[in-house]
């Protein structure tokens, strides 16, 4: 079924390809305007993007850039306008804090409650660039640090194992000094200054020599002080002007160590990386590449990819999903963890083990399941605990990551599907389209006629109403293509009493208008869309840099996308290219 584009929104959509505008659905100011005939809004005056981050000035600059070239972006990738933000402190995410504490104090250290991350455009690393720590967050952090350090220092054997010595008597300042200095260098991601060494070793001594205390306790609290310090809690990457780069802000060697460790290991640098920084090796792209290759080869590199996978596919929706146990008797809460792990393992396998085409994950059939999940999917069980590789048979209608339970069950409602939610996820995260919020005063949908009315039929009114059509035409036709899988991610041929109609179409800027029927065909069709590769690149780019990708990044992103395509979409190569690029090594781009 091909959705016909009319009412003048077509003109706006075409304009947005050249102008980099985000399409909006009708006025947000008042209901009056929303009721105007859509023909009157013929695209001559672009409506401001509703996402509050796009000011009218941003829209103008985006339009200006493209039309000045005289050419449309070949990828169809839409990027908002805006100025480059100055570098800011990056507050460690919960995941970074957890991994940092584990790397600094031992893998078995207890990790308490931590302040929640703020997600912007789906990524906590972007929120980290501006979020503050609340008073309650200060409390939680202190408690977590005290618990973690308390655990290690409750047992001299653990201290010995973690730090290589055990500070015994108050005169044993060599050990305590060494622990503080080495720990501090990793935690602050740079050598401690003399004042800092004095501050923390002084603390160890004064607490260590208090009545009823001992040096071990003093060292414990000195490390706690390091871990509570903003120099640990925030990644401080501000850049310094580089004379040989026309005074542009360039990240220092230690700042690069901090960035590389954050990006690849979701944690603090190790001593080798800090030594490389100290030796000046991270001042050049070649030096950065050498360390990056070492970091990515370490199994710790899986952590960052797990974070990226969860955020790109929105697994937080799965985490809080409720399902109707009467309608879905085979569903269990334990399937959520299994589905999340399935998704992560598929990505890790492609990037690190197979070193294959990342986009082939959109339609491939290899997966990883435990027996609970295998049984749920109707795959053979192994009889063993844990996860094993499996393959969906050729006749299966399930293929690609869109067929993963985490995606299907996460982007759905407790009792039924939401084609709009699934379509929104694909549009925003895989096609980089910005879907504004709904307009105000949305009239209620007509009451449901009966169980024989399908969601497709109920949602048809979205595309009949001009106020709603602009945005819903981007989402619903994609979501309909996944209607052959239900709200818990199982294949179905019936929706209530009606046969499932899973036909859909990929149309809009950067899309080739392919029609498809069902999830597997959708995955294959997506894989062929020119915008998909560049979109993935821009998502990774924004996550790595901790800020939205903007029009001014277009050239950098398109170069990365071209190399990504030339390398058969190797994501590990993409990461290596990205961290050696100008965008990552400088806080200010070339003019």
């Amino acid at each position: 079924m091909r959705h016909s584009r009319n009412f003048g929104f077509g003109a706006i959509i075409i304009a947005s390809v050249f102008g980099g505008l985000s399409v909006t659905c009708g006025s947000h100011q008042n209901q009056q305007q929303a009721e105007l005939s859509p023909v009157a809004n013929d695209g001559a005056a672009p409506m401001p993007g509703d996402t509050a981050s796009d000011t009218p000035e941003d829209e103008a600059s985006a339009a200006g850039t493209a039309s000045a070239d005289g050419s449309a972006p070949t990828t169809g990738l839409v990027l908002p306008g805006g100025d480059l933000p100055a570098p800011t402190l990056h507050r460690l995410t919960r995941s970074e804090l957890t991994h940092s504490l584990q790397d600094l104090l031992g893998a078995d250290v207890p990790i308490g409650q931590l302040e929640p991350d703020v997600s912007i455009n789906g990524f906590s690393s972007i929120g980290a660039s501006s979020v503050e720590v609340s008073p309650a967050g200060i409390d939680l952090h202190e408690q977590a640090v005290l618990a973690a350090t308390g655990y290690v220092f409750a047992d001299e054997a653990r201290v010995q194992a973690q730090f290589g010595c055990t500070p015994a008597s108050p005169s044993d300042s060599a050990c305590s000094s060494r622990i503080v200095t080495q720990f501090g260098r990793r935690a602050f991601r740079r050598p401690l200054t003399e004042a800092e060494v004095a501050r923390f070793t002084g603390l160890a001594t004064s607490i260590g020599s208090a009545d009823g205390s001992r040096l071990l306790t003093g060292v414990r609290y000195a490390l706690a002080a390091i871990l509570e310090s903003p120099s640990f809690v925030y990644r401080v990457e501000l850049g310094v002007p580089s004379a040989e780069d026309a005074g542009r802000l360039k990240y220092t060697g230690f700042e690069m160590a901090s960035r590389l460790a954050g990006i690849f290991w979701d944690s603090v640098p190790d001593d080798t990386l800090l030594d490389a920084a100290d030796a000046g090796a991270l001042a050049t792209p070649e030096g950065v590449r050498a360390q990056a290759e070492r970091l990515i080869a370490d199994s710790k590199a899986e952590r960052s990819l797990v974070v990226f996978t969860r955020e790109l596919f929105g697994t937080s929706h799965l985490d809080e999903a409720q399902k109707d146990d009467a309608l879905f008797p085979t569903w269990r809460e334990s399937l959520k963890d299994a589905m999340r792990e399935e998704l992560e393992r598929r990505v890790l396998d492609m990037v690190f083990a197979r070193k294959g085409d990342f986009l082939s994950l959109l339609d491939d059939r290899k997966t990883f399941v435990n027996d609970d999940l295998a049984q749920f999917y109707g795959l053979p069980v192994s009889g063993e605990p844990g996860f094993h590789a499996a393959e969906f048979p050729p006749e299966s209608r399930r293929a690609g990551l869109l067929g993963a339970g985490a995606v299907l069950a996460g982007h759905a409602l407790p009792q039924r599907n939401s084609p709009t939610a699934r379509g929104k996820f694909v549009s925003e995260m895989l096609l980089c389209r910005s879907i504004p919020p709904p307009p105000n005063n949305v009239p209620p949908l007509p009451p449901q006629a009966g169980p024989e009315v399908t969601m497709r039929e109920r949602l048809a009114v979205h595309r009949q109403s001009p106020v709603c059509a602009g945005c819903h035409s981007m989402m619903d036709p994609i979501g309909f293509g996944m209607e052959d899988f239900d709200s818990v991610g199982l294949y179905r041929t019936l929706e209530g009493t009606s046969p499932v109609d899973a036909s859909g179409v990929l149309e809009g800027p950067g899309l080739d208008g392919t029609t498809f029927s069902g999830l597997a065909e959708l995955g294959a069709a997506l894989r062929r869309q020119p915008v998909v590769g560049p979109c993935l690149v821009s998502k990774l780019y924004s996550e790595v840099l901790g800020r939205r990708a903007l029009q001014l990044d277009r050239s950098a992103i398109e170069q990365l996308a071209a190399r990504f395509s030339d390398s058969q979409h190797r994501l590990d190569q993409l990461l290596l290219t990205l961290v050696t690029s100008d965008s990552f090594r400088f806080a200010e781009p070339k003019g």
Partner: protein, 451 residues
Amino acid sequence: MRSRPISRRAVLRGMLVGGVSVTVPLPRLAGMLNGNGTAYAQGAPLPVRFGTWFFGNGIIPDRWVPSSTGQADAWQLSEQLEPLAQVKPWLSVLTGLSIKVPNNSPHASHPCAALTGAQTGPGQVQSASIDQLIAPAISGDTAFPSGIHAALSNQTGATALGLAISYRGPNAANPPTYSPTALYQQLLGFTSDGTSRPVDPALLYRQSVLDAVAEDANALRQRLGAQDQLRLDHHLDGLHELQGRITRLAMPLSTGPLPNPDQLYPARGADGLISRERGQAFADLLVFALASDLSRVFSYMFTCAASHGDYADCGLANSSFHEDYGHRLSKSGLSAATRGFNTGVKYAMSNLADLLTKMKSVPDGNGTLLDNSCVYITSCTSESQTHSGNDYPLLVAGKAGGRLRSDQHVRLLDENVSKVPFTLLNALGGPTETFGRAEGSVSSGIAELLA
């Protein structure tokens, strides 16, 4: 450079030298009040308390707005407000007011305006919320100057404000706790059965650690741009607050037993679940904290803006409250969806009643905790299906130590919702000329709210 609380550490060190603890009795024993019970014997006024209580997904105006206006016997509770019957004399129902900021983002623009008087900005919230504006004026030297922030449901909402209703400013939410047990553990350290106990030396060590941490913060601050300096300043404020709490841990209050959620409500359900018992566990703890003057400010998020939460506890299982009931999309049809939505609103009000009733039952000064408190109650929309900002749900509970009039329904057609928080800010926070920004800005309040 921020000054460090040298005097606090000296106090602690002095205690440690002495080797014994100092137990401070609850400040509001009758013997410490003046003859009228309206002030401390030394003349200082009794503390007033403020809280915000928030529920997602709005109301059905026809069933929320009481049929008549006026005071006392002149008005009666509507159907959706009926659960609040026991606290009607402490209630002001404000109806007819409208959110004036444009509804750019349904379920975000409106609650943001109701809480902060401003539109959502690029980083979500642009301005501080009403509880954080009032807090500095009333918190005094309490253990939690920024307040205690708790929430019942941890499920997110559609195109909404995120999971916080209290903001110190842009990018500065006060994320709530979902765990009554965690709140209990945190409050426990401030309480004592009245017997002496030695001060834990760890308290002094923690203070010393925080002094060192503040030195780091001050050193880092000098290298930063303006936005980051502000972030560090606020970080330092948080460290300062924590040091205040640690000092108080060395001087626990002699109180009655702190209600233990795991003993009182063992079957209440996991953190983040919507259940009446979890709400009651939180109500116990918030009331305790307010009554013992550990905090004078709180925020409580029953459900977030546009919450997808599952209201199984009131019979609406396996559903998304926002979709199935707020937007009447339930498979069971429009009538069932409307009934369910109505049930959900009343269930929310029952939860609110639990808190307010407990506040009413605690003696405080010459009256009750509810007499000396002000609770501001609102939601993320009015009529849920249309995302309307007209006839907005607004309640004020409590008499704020005699500053507020109550037991009334006041209807103010098309007036700016901001007038309610403006009035409360003036009544509790001291004279203020304006509240809010742009369309949400007001410079006058609602006379009927004032005593």
